[in-house]
C-alpha cells in the first residue's frame, strides 16, 4: 500500500527505550509503516516503546485498529508502551476504545518521563 501520508521516525530515547515519532495521518495507509517501525524498534532491542503523536493530524478507526495490533504485539513481546503528544480529542478516543487500559498516556512530551527513569 502507498503510505506516503505517514512517516515514522524510529529513534533511541534511552538505553532500552525507543521512540516512534509519527508524522501525518494514521489510517489504512499507515499499516506497513507501523509494522516496519515496530520491527525496527525490536531489532534495536528496545524493551519500552514511546509513541509520539505530536505531529499526527488524523487517526481514523482503521488507524486505531493498527495501534491495537501494535499494542498486542508489544504485550506479546513483553514491551511497555507509552503514548505522548496526543491531543485531547484523541486522548478521549483512547479512553472510549479502552486502549488506555493498556498504555500509559502522557499529556505532553515535556511531561513524559522516560519509563526507565520512572522505574524504581
Amino acid at each position: 500500500m502507498d503510505d506516503t501520508r505517514v512517516r515514522i521516525d524510529v529513534e533511541p530515547s534511552g538505553p532500552s527505550e525507543t521512540t516512534l515519532c509519527l508524522h501525518g495521518d494514521i489510517d489504512v495507509f499507515a499499516d506497513a509503516a507501523l509494522a516496519e517501525a515496530y520491527a525496527s524498534a525490536t531489532r534495536d532491542g528496545a524493551t519500552s516503546l514511546r509513541l509520539d503523536f505530536d505531529d499526527v493530524g488524523y487517526i481514523n478507526s482503521t488507524g486505531i485498529a493498527l495501534i491495537v495490533r501494535l499494542l498486542a504485539e508489544a504485550r506479546r513481546d513483553r514491551r511497555e508502551v507509552l503514548a505522548v503528544g496526543l491531543s485531547e480529542h484523541y486522548r478521549e478516543i483512547f479512553r472510549i476504545t479502552r486502549l488506555s487500559d493498556y498504555l500509559t498516556i502522557v499529556e505532553t512530551p515535556a511531561a513524559a518521563v522516560s519509563l526507565e527513569e520512572a522505574a524504581p
Binding site: 502507498d2 495521518d25 485498529a65
Partner: protein, 251 residues
C-alpha cells in the same frame, strides 16, 4: 493490492461520544443483553488475537467507495446470511448508536445468541463496530471501501479475540471458520447486490498473538454460552407469561 488514497480527508467527528454504559434505541424480538454493559475491544478479550480481512473487488461495477459505503450502511442487515438478524438503531449506523443482534450458535441450530454492537466510528468511506461485554468476541470490525486502480474494493477487517474460555473452546472446534464464512457470505451478498456476477471474496487471517489473556478469564461471567443457555431454558416461562398477559406469542 495497491490502494489509492481518497481525495478528501475525513472529519474527526466520526467518533462516538464516550459512554460508561451502553444503551440502545433498537428493538429486538428476543432479549436485550447489551443495555448497561460496557464495550470490550480486542485488548479486553481472552483468546488468541486474530486479524481477519475479507475483501471483494467490484469488477465491472461503475461506482466509488463513498457510494458503496452509503449503500452498505443503508441496507446493512439485508446482506447478512439468513441465520442472523441485525436490529438497527432508530437513526441507523451512526457513531454512538447501538444495534442489537441475534446470531446463530452452531450451524443451523434454532437457538440464537442475543448480543449487539456499538457503532464506534463512521465516516463516508468506513464504519466500525465494537463489541460489548457479553458478546462472543471482543472485537473491532471495520467495514470500508477503497479504490484499487480502476476497481472499487469492499473490505471488512476484524481484530478479534474470543471473550472467554468457553467461546475459545468453541473457536478451536470450528466456530472460528464458521465466523469467517459468515463475513465471506456477507461480502458476497453485498457484491452481488451491487451487480458483480460472480463475487470472489479474498480472506486473509493472521494470528497476531497466540497467547490467551488469563487475566480476563472472569469474562466468563458474561459468557453468551451461559446467557443463551439460560434464555433457552427459560423461554417457555417467558412465553407463558406473555400469554397470560395477553401479549403475542413468539414466533
Amino acid at each position: 493490492m495497491t490502494a489509492t488514497q481518497p481525495d478528501r480527508k475525513p472529519t474527526t467527528d466520526g467518533w462516538a461520544r464516550p459512554v460508561d454504559k451502553l444503551t440502545t434505541t433498537a428493538t429486538t424480538r428476543s432479549v436485550d443483553t447489551v443495555t448497561g454493559r460496557r464495550v470490550a475491544g480486542p485488548v479486553q478479550g481472552f483468546g488468541q488475537l486474530w486479524q481477519k480481512t475479507f475483501a471483494v473487488r467490484l469488477e465491472g461495477v461503475d461506482t466509488d467507495p463513498e457510494t458503496v459505503v452509503a449503500y452498505w450502511k443503508e441496507r446493512f442487515p439485508t446482506f447478512w446470511p439468513k441465520t442472523a438478524r441485525f436490529y438497527a438503531p432508530l437513526s441507523g449506523i451512526q457513531p454512538g448508536e447501538v444495534a442489537l443482534l441475534d446470531l446463530p450458535t452452531v450451524g443451523s441450530a434454532p437457538v440464537k445468541m442475543s448480543t449487539g454492537v456499538l457503532v464506534i466510528y463512521a465516516d463516508r468511506e468506513s464504519f466500525t463496530f465494537m463489541t460489548p461485554e457479553g458478546h462472543a468476541l471482543s472485537a473491532w470490525i471495520t467495514f470500508s471501501a477503497f479504490r484499487d486502480g480502476d476497481v472499487t474494493v469492499v473490505q471488512a477487517q476484524a481484530l478479534e479475540r474470543t471473550s472467554d474460555p468457553l467461546i475459545e473452546l468453541g473457536y478451536l472446534v470450528g466456530f472460528n471458520r464458521e465466523n469467517d464464512r459468515f463475513w465471506e457470505a456477507t461480502l458476497a451478498n453485498l457484491a452481488a447486490s451491487l451487480g458483480v456476477a460472480s463475487p470472489a471474496v479474498e480472506t486473509r487471517r493472521l494470528c497476531v498473538d497466540r497467547r490467551r489473556q488469563w487475566k480476563y478469564v472472569r469474562n466468563v461471567r458474561y459468557s453468551p454460552v451461559i446467557s443463551t443457555t439460560v434464555s433457552t431454558v427459560t423461554a417457555p416461562v417467558r412465553w407463558a407469561r406473555r400469554r397470560r398477559a395477553g401479549g403475542r406469542a413468539p414466533e
